[in-house]
Amino acid sequence: MTSEKIRVQDLNLYYGDNQALHDIQLSVKKGSITAFIGPSGCGKSTLLRTLNRMNDLIDNVRITGKVYVDEQNIYDNQVDVVQLRKHVGMVFQRPNPFPMSIYDNIAYGPRIHGIKKKRDLDEIVERSLQQAALWNEVKDRLKKSALGLSGGQQQRLCIARMLAVDPDVLLMDEPTSALDPISTLKVEELTQTLKSRYTIIIVTHNMQQAARISDYTVFFLNGHLVEASETNAIFTNPKDKRTEDYITGRFG
C-alpha cells in the first residue's frame, strides 16, 4: 500500500470543447522513475501538468476525476495549490532560469517559503547545486546572472532550483529536448542519483532515453493511456499492437 505515491483515477481533461485526456487510470510507485512516452499531442505533457495542477493557470481547462498524491485528492476544494507545488516540483522543456543571479535563482523558492537567514539559504543553495551536479562549475560565480550559463547548465540550475524547495515528486517535461548530447547525458545521470530519494516522472520523446533511465513506462496515444508496464516488459514484449508499432518506429 505505502509503495504507491500517485494514483490517477478516471481523469478526463477538456480544453474548451476538445477532450485532451480520456479516462486515465494510473498508479505510480514511490521511489521509481516513470517515463511517459508517445507521439506529440498524445496528452503526455498535459497529464504531467495535472499532477501539480499547472493546468489551473490556463483558461478554459476543465478537469474531472481524481488525482491522489499520498492518498490525498489534489483536486479537492480544500487543497492548497501552493503547498502541493512545493511537494511536487517541475522542470520544463526549455530551461527557464529567472533573470537574476545563480544564487537568487536557487534561493527564490526557500525565500518565498519563509526562509530568511543567510546561513540557511547559503546551505540550501550549496546542497541543491551539489545534488544537481552543478556546484563545481558555478561555485565561483554564484552572484553572476544565471542567463550567462550554457543551456545544459541552465537546465541543471532549474533542477537545483526545484530541489531547493525540497519536493518529493519530480515532474520533468522533456527536460533534455533542448539540450546537446553531453548535457543530456549529465541530466540523465542526475536522474539516476536522485531516484533513491524522489519519485520521478519524466515525459520524453526519446524512446532510448525512456529505456535507459526509467523503471516503468507509460504509452499514450490521442489522449488515451494505451499501456503501462515495467520498462523492460514494454520494450521487449508490448501487449498492445499500437505500442509495438510506436516503439518499433512505425509511426510517431
Partner: protein
C-alpha cells in the same frame, strides 16, 4: 504569510483596476451629460458671438476638419514615404540610425514647441499669418512621426515571402511596394491614420499661435489664408479669454462635441480595425 500578502494584493489590484474603470467612465459621463444638452443645431452649426450669449461653433467645427484634412494631405505622403524607405530600402548604417533617431525625437517634441516653431517659420518667416494653412502645416509635423512609425511597423510585419514572390515574377521594387506591400498593409495604415486624426483633431497648443483664435466672417470659408480657430482652441479661448457670458456652456458643448467626434472615429474605424488586426496577426 505568503498567502496573506497574496490576498491583500489581489484585493488591492482589483480595487485599482475598478477605480481606473470608474474614473474613465465618470469622466466620459461627466463630459457627455453636461455637454450633450447644449448640442442644438443652432449651436453646432451657428456662428459664434463675441460678446452676446447664444453663439455657435459652426465655423470652428468646419475649421477643425478642414485643417485636419489639409494636414493629413501634407503628412500622409511624406510619412508613408519615409516609412517605406525605412522598412524596405534602408540598410543598417549611420544614416538610417540618424533618421530613426530623429523621427523618435520628433515624436517627443511637446506640442507647444511645435506651435512656436510654426509661428516662427510659417507665420512669420514665410509670412502666412495666423491662417488655416499655417495651422495645417504645423499640425502635419505632429502627424509625421506617428505615420512613419506605423508605416514601418506595418510593412515589417508582412512576411518576406510576399517580396520574394513578387520579385520572382520580375517585378521591380516599386511595383512590389505599389501592388503588393501597400495594399496588404492598408489596414494597418488606416489604423495609423485614424490614430493621427484623433490626436490632430484635439490638438490646441499647436494651433493657437499658427491658426489663430478667431474665425473668418464667412462660413464655410475654404480660403486657406483665412484665420482658422478650431473647436479645441475655441473651447480653451472662451474659457480663458472669452467675454461671452455663456462661456461655460459653450465650452461644455464643444467638449462633448469633440469627444463625440473622437468616439465616432474610434468606434467606427480605429478600434475594430485594431482588434481585427491584432487577432489576424496573431498578437
Amino acid at each position: 504569510m505568503g498567502k496573506l500578502s497574496d490576498r491583500v494584493a489581489t484585493i488591492l489590484l482589483w480595487f485599482i483596476g475598478l477605480s481606473i474603470l470608474a474614473i474613465l467612465f465618470w469622466f466620459l459621463y461627466r463630459i457627455l451629460s453636461q455637454g450633450l444638452p447644449h448640442l442644438a443645431p443652432r449651436f453646432v452649426f451657428g456662428m459664434p458671438e463675441e460678446i452676446l450669449p447664444g453663439g455657435g461653433v459652426g465655423p470652428q467645427l468646419f475649421n477643425s476638419f478642414y485643417i485636419l484634412l489639409l494636414s493629413l494631405a501634407i503628412s500622409i505622403p511624406l510619412g508613408i514615404g519615409a516609412g517605406v524607405w525605412l522598412a524596405e530600402y534602408a540598410k543598417k548604417h549611420w544614416f538610417t540610425d540618424l533618421i530613426r533617431l530623429s523621427t523618435e525625437m520628433l515624436a517627443s517634441v511637446p506640442s507647444i514647441v511645435f506651435g512656436l516653431f510654426g509661428m516662427l517659420v510659417f507665420v512669420t518667416v514665410l509670412g502666412l499669418g495666423f491662417s488655416i494653412i499655417g495651422g495645417a502645416l504645423t499640425l502635419s509635423l505632429l502627424n509625421l512621426p506617428i505615420l512613419v512609425r506605423v508605416t514601418e511597423e506595418t510593412l515589417r510585419g508582412l512576411p518576406g515571402s510576399y517580396r520574394e514572390a513578387s520579385a520572382a515574377l520580375g517585378a521591380t521594387k516599386w511595383q512590389t511596394i505599389k501592388s503588393v506591400l501597400l495594399p496588404t498593409s492598408l489596414l494597418g495604415l488606416i489604423t495609423g491614420i485614424t490614430l493621427v486624426a484623433g490626436r490632430a483633431l484635439g490638438e490646441s497648443a499647436i494651433l493657437i499661435f499658427t491658426a489663430g483664435v478667431s474665425v473668418s466672417r464667412f462660413a464655410p470659408d475654404f480660403n486657406v489664408f483665412a484665420s482658422g480657430e478650431t473647436l479645441s482652441v475655441h473651447l480653451w479661448y472662451v474659457l480663458s479669454e472669452g467675454l461671452v457670458p455663456d462661456a461655460r456652456e459653450i465650452a461644455e458643448g464643444s467638449a462633448a462635441l469633440l469627444v463625440l467626434v473622437i468616439l465616432i472615429i474610434n468606434l467606427c474605424l480605429a478600434l475594430p480595425f485594431r482588434y481585427w488586426y491584432r487577432r489576424s496577426s496573431g498578437r
